[in-house]
Point group: C2
Chain length 424, copies 2
């Protein structure tokens, strides 16, 4: 708590009161030795999560560790290992060791991978065993799709896209195959015991998040949300830290209402959103599409943004795409913090503007979200006539004669001279 208070520039008592009310969580498993404390909630800076992890068809352990370094270098506050292929347990253990950022998982992935993809064969006790083992290993937060009930599946299958959450679709198939209720919901007390014992934060998965604009804000999505609200209350009573996951694909105009509804239904539990993606038609640019939605989400109620990379809907991201996804989402988080008036959020923008007026390029790059990228781009087409110094008083966009900042300075001098003359 002390670390979070100092990092965020708020008092320890405020952190304490936010955590007590459940409006803030600090996902931190004591078994994760190297982890740092990071607060998630509306009282602090909006955070960004980077999803990593290999698929059965692509990537490997070494690649994913490289991507983890890349994600940490480019400002990921949280990471999730979503591996669904290879030796998932080995990858996870190495990622936990290597990550000072709190690390999350979706335990049903490992469960189903261990069953070679055979969803109906899953024994609920086996799933709960996987939750326990991952908790013992040091996973800081876990996505559990406990709010998706059997009756919701019928609603979801009426949609255009059906169920697009991997975890949600697994739970739904299992329920429909066996004609039974969601085992995580039925055995939630047992699950909470494990989470409480190991100080694991639960992230309540939204198995019915909309997978296209047409499905957004529908009966299926909100029916599951109501159950998530009930589970939030149970977690708080049991002393388990809880956040709630949210959409998904949502038209820009529906984002505010979605954020407000979650905050109301889940009594202010931190909202962790994926995107939202505001149009379905831009594969290869979905980091931009989702950063648009994420800015609105951060402005109106989200506390943690799960990045989307340019590879979304097309494949597993590579390292460069991890970098691009993080840049887009750190922009969204910061723009949202400025928009909602978070204390001190705009200070860095003001320092950047001051540096721009001074033509202090080094100071501009120091203020930049990605200093290396900004500097490299500037160097590539900096004014050719100026030689190799860093104190250029214009850039290649306008050149000297048309630089408005230079002209503004001339005007200011003119007006000062004129005022001085009037004063005589």
């Amino acid at each position: 708590m002390k670390a979070v208070a100092s990092e965020e520039g708020i008092s320890e008592s405020e952190v304490l009161s936010e955590i007590a009310s459940g409006r803030m969580v600090i996902p931190l498993n004591p078994a994760h030795d190297t982890v740092r404390a990071v607060g998630v909630g509306r009282a602090v800076r909006t955070k960004v999560n980077a999803n990593l992890g290999r698929s059965p068809t692509n990537s490997g352990e070494a690649d994913e560790l490289d991507k983890l370094s890349c994600a940490l270098k480019h400002g990921a506050d949280f990471v999730m290992d979503l591996s669904v292929g290879g030796d998932i347990s080995a990858i996870r253990r190495r990622m936990i060791d290597a990550s000072p950022a709190p690390l999350g998982t979706v335990p049903v992935y490992e469960t189903i991978a261990l069953l070679d993809g055979d969803v109906p064969s899953m024994d609920p006790s086996f799933l709960i065993d996987v939750v326990r083992r991952q908790a013992e290993e040091g996973v800081d937060f876990m996505t559990l799709h406990a709010g998706l009930l059997s009756k919701h599946v019928d609603l979801a299958l009426k949609r255009k896209m059906g169920i697009v959450s991997r975890g949600g679709s697994i739970m739904a198939e299992w329920m429909k195959k066996h004609g039974r209720e969601n085992p995580l919901y039925e055995r939630w007390d047992e699950v909470m015991d494990i989470l409480a014992e190991h100080d694991v934060t639960v992230s309540l998965g939204d198995g019915l998040r909309p997978g296209c604009l047409a499905d957004a804000s529908d009966a299926a999505q909100f029916a599951e949300l109501d159950v998530l609200g009930e589970l939030v209350e149970r977690c708080r009573k049991r002393g388990v830290q809880v956040m709630v996951e949210g959409p998904g694909h949502v038209p820009f105009d529906q984002i505010k209402a979605n954020m407000e509804r979650e905050q109301a239904v889940c009594a202010g539990a931190p909202f962790y959103v994926l995107g939202p993606v505001v149009t379905d038609i831009a594969p290869a640019y979905d980091h931009i599409v989702a950063a648009i939605g994420a800015t609105a989400a951060a402005t109106y109620g989200a506390s943690l943004l799960c990045y989307v990379t340019p590879a979304e809907h097309l494949g597993l991201p590579d390292m460069e795409e991890v970098r691009q996804g993080l840049a887009a989402f750190r922009i969204a988080a910061h723009a949202g913090d400025v928009a909602r008036g978070l204390k001190g959020a705009r200070d860095i923008d003001d320092r950047m503007s001051d540096a721009r007026v001074r033509f202090d390029w080094d100071a501009q790059f120091d203020c930049a979200l990605d200093p290396d990228a900004a500097r490299a781009r500037w160097l590539r087409t900096r004014p050719a006539e100026e030689g190799a110094c860093h104190d250029d008083d214009h850039c290649s966009m306008c050149g000297k004669a048309f630089c408005a900042v230079r002209t503004s300075k001339r005007i200011r001098r003119l007006m000062e001279e004129s005022a001085a003359a009037d004063g005589k």
Copy 2:
């Protein structure tokens, strides 16, 4: 009007009534032989403009013609030649010949370039001569900074960033040097005569647009806007098509109010915004920063979005950056159209979602905003085990076993079988 009605899927009478009220403009100079009719206004699709043109220090005529081709290929509805260096007149004539998209300029740039950057030496009649010559040559729309008055300059210089509009800073310096009023404002009737004679649309420049978050929505910005409202009224009386330019750097939460204020002050004249940029700290990613603001702008009142490229604040964009800027802004325009409920806007999203459910990758790429980029990215990490066919029923992100869309289909079959069994 017929072309616009057909292109936009609305009736000719609606186009007529929107134009008559001034809520829509069709910038089209009869001297621009090859130009197509493109409507700008809230009744039709939100449009995107690409700024091109060389600076004194970078690029050349051939480069800018390549960028023009690139911009047209990637969906620019409008282009502006903002050259401030080289043989501006020659570049412009070649761009007009090569562009079916309506082309705009800022005549004071050529004026000052012809005076070797010496702003105080500008004779107002010379500026008006340049306006006339450009109109004769076929320029479809012109940015004229006629609303920035001498008294506004004092307000603007109190800001953190002063004046960041090139045209605005030129007019301000000239006024303060000579102790005179804005010559475009003083001789507006004469200017309108030229515009009317040649059917040129005026885009009223916002010389005092904020250049950083700290300066947004301030007295200087809104004082100029009031004068723009007065000029809109004069243009409509004179039969000159008019749109209004807007900010700039604006925090995300202030965009809605900015859009509504312009619509009110300027009696529904089409609003043409640059960005808005929602944080100052992300040079090298300003296309993303500005697409966030542009989506909100398009949702709440803008009709034409001027793209911002990753080179903004750092240099003149190259061809690849022109492509990236257009992709980001076509996303913003479309997401805004969906959000404001423009009739038919979401149809393409629904077609994309249907193609996703069918795993019809070719249909997905047909629906994609940038088919080539989406296809290339997909091919790069498509499931390795599937060979070279195009009917893969999953992608490399989840693989077969974890594909939620595949799982949804299995659930649907399970439930159909169960319903059939119950029916017996």
